[in-house]
Symmetry: C2
Subunit: 191 residues, 2 copies
DNA sequence: GTTGCATATAAAACTCTTTGCATATAGAGT
DNA sequence: ACTCTATATGCAAAGAGTTTTATATGCAAC
């Protein structure tokens, strides 16, 4: 009930093939909703069956035919209806923090290494978001409504990455020099 | 392959019943890994079958028997092994941002209302995290390793909520006074 | 009386990930 | 030359994970 909607949103811009959607997802809506190609193909079939999109095959000789999907009126209505339904805050799944939670009982060095990897990841993301911002939103005043929404998405991305980065540094600082092997209270593990 | 590990982590502290795990999840590990009671019961069965936990039934007359789960050596090993495996960054699912992405084609008022609701939610979360912080971590220096991990989790929670809150304000400010009905370029919807 | 808490189970429905299959071209590496 | 890899394009099915919904019992509180 949600990947479908992300696809609808992407199709607002223009008709696209599953492949294009997949590519484009990685750079636009996909900032906020990850999906693999397979997932998208699957979902498109369902959406076609539901009448939300209409497909048109474009023959190609050199490679598999393209199947271009277009938003239908029904799809458009489904999108509007979805926008009206309340959005739940995303449910959290932060594996790294679960590991951190086990600190004291598990090896700290590993976790520190993870934190470093994670930090690097966020540095990348941040750089990526900032380059998009510089390229596409150099003057964030007077944006059209359409561009306003996307700008705000990017803003959250940038703000979030900066925060997470700051947190990584704090965490690494706090864990530096800490005893690396778990010590103290042992677990009572039964055989 | 991950809720199970969150449960293992919780069981490190002490043996617990499914019910207790569910309650406790909401306040501890559950900050970073949401799970319902049903999910936990289910998972406990699997974990018992895999030998990661051992169950012991405590008879009760007034209400259903309690089934207390204890971490086994095998479970402990599984936990250690999991800590060693690299953690992927969480995959993003931010429905609200997908909606924002559609701004310009869909009704803006609805989205503004959502943003306000979301803002209130984050105010709550922040207050909750800060009260836990004040109560349990008034002096964040010289924490034991165990408490260090949990402190850091809380820190991220607080920092994240503050950031999101700031973003909500920014977004609301930007969208205030904007035209509320979609206008401009219409979608080419086919019948 | 109804609601809430304590405690557990089960099945359906849905979503997501993984794996594997197909096919053709272009480019890089050895 | 030969092989490997990447890109472009799609399909299908199995498994893993999650959410939703329903069922069951007894007490306490409102």
């Amino acid at each position: 009930m949600a990947l479908a909607h992300a696809i609808l949103v992407s199709l607002l811009d223009r008709p696209q093939t599953g492949y294009e959607l997949g590519k484009r997802f990685d750079q636009t809506v996909g900032f906020f909703w990850k999906a693999s190609h397979q997932q998208i193909y699957q979902e498109l079939h369902k959406m076609a069956k539901a009448g939300w999109v209409q497909s048109e095959t474009v023959a190609q000789s050199d490679r598999p035919n393209r199947i271009v999907y277009t938003l239908t009126r029904r799809g458009r209505e489904a999108l509007d209806a979805w926008v009206e339904t309340p959005t739940e805050p995303p449910s959290v799944k932060e594996e790294l923090l679960v590991k951190l939670f086990a600190l004291g009982d598990v090896d700290a060095d590993t976790i520190v290494a993870e934190l470093q990897r994670r930090r690097a990841y966020h540095v990348d993301r941040l750089a990526w978001y900032e380059s998009v911002m510089a390229e596409h939103y150099p003057e964030p005043d007077q944006l059209s409504p359409r561009r306003r929404g996307r700008y705000l998405g990017l803003r959250l991305g940038i703000m979030g990455e900066k925060t997470t980065l700051a947190w990584c540094d704090e965490a690494l600082a706090l864990l530096a020099g800490a005893p690396s092997k778990p010590r103290g209270r042992r677990v009572q593990a039964r055989s």
